[in-house]
Symmetry: C2
Subunit: 148 residues, 2 copies
């Protein structure tokens, strides 16, 4: 099993993971070919050194997440790492792979000099909240969103 940066050829497999989810199925469009907006977004991510779109692969792609590094003045000018869009393929759940993936992300964020790693998870995913708490995350903040 390897972790690597995604290429544009991985985008369909990643979108399939994002769409195969009770929340994701309502907001993604997993057609062949994919809407161009996914490829445009991939190019923005791929050209930005503060974005890392990662895939976990074992023969095929079985997991994905995106890491973002954000420089702030807070915490004496610290870098924060942020996890988003983390998914494990439905055929590979319940085997500890999600834990392996997030442990890898934590190590990567430390390597990049972050002082904290953060994420928000929908309150409709209580199992995700427990999963992250077991890995050491603390639910100290409200995650607030305003959709346009």
């Amino acid at each position: 099993m390897i972790f690597r940066t995604a290429t544009i050829d991985d985008v369909p497999a990643i979108v399939a993971l994002l769409a195969n989810d009770k929340l994701g199925s309502q907001r993604e469009v997993n057609t062949t070919p994919l809407p161009q907006t996914y490829l445009q977004a991939f190019n923005l991510i791929d050209s930005d050194p503060n974005q890392e779109l990662i895939v976990m692969e074992k023969e095929s792609i079985i997991g994905t997440f995106q890491l973002t590094y954000i420089p702030y003045l807070t915490y004496q000018g610290g870098i924060r790492a942020q996890i988003e869009a983390a998914r494990i393929h439905e055929n590979h759940r319940g085997k500890g792979l999600g834990q392996k993936m997030i442990v890898w992300a934590i190590a990567r964020a430390k390597d990049r000099g972050a002082h904290v790693i953060q994420l928000t998870t929908d309150k409709q995913r209580p199992e995700a909240i427990r999963f992250y708490e077991k890995l050491g995350f603390r639910s100290t903040h409200e995650g607030m969103k305003l959709h346009f």
Copy 2:
């Protein structure tokens, strides 16, 4: 009153705002001169087109926040705007300036093509949660952090 992008000369005033806070006072070092790490972080922010460190000014700096634009594959390849490090000077609170500032941030995020604006706020700041809810934000997510 104007909103503008911060310059390096504004960093001491911004750090003073960040430090003058029950949580910020424990994590910032507001000395003269400032620790170099703040200026290094400013340069990272200033050179990144996806970061906007904004000050609200009326004779002096009375407010600040940082906007970050993050490209994701989720939501069909959408841009998210994220607010962090929002503060109003203690002498200027209770006058609706915080609301003006966040309303400006929301408009700015829309101009930049974001489909959502998000933030996390410490659960120790219930007044901040109510403030953002009045502006249309919904507390749908847990904000989870792991400090190194």
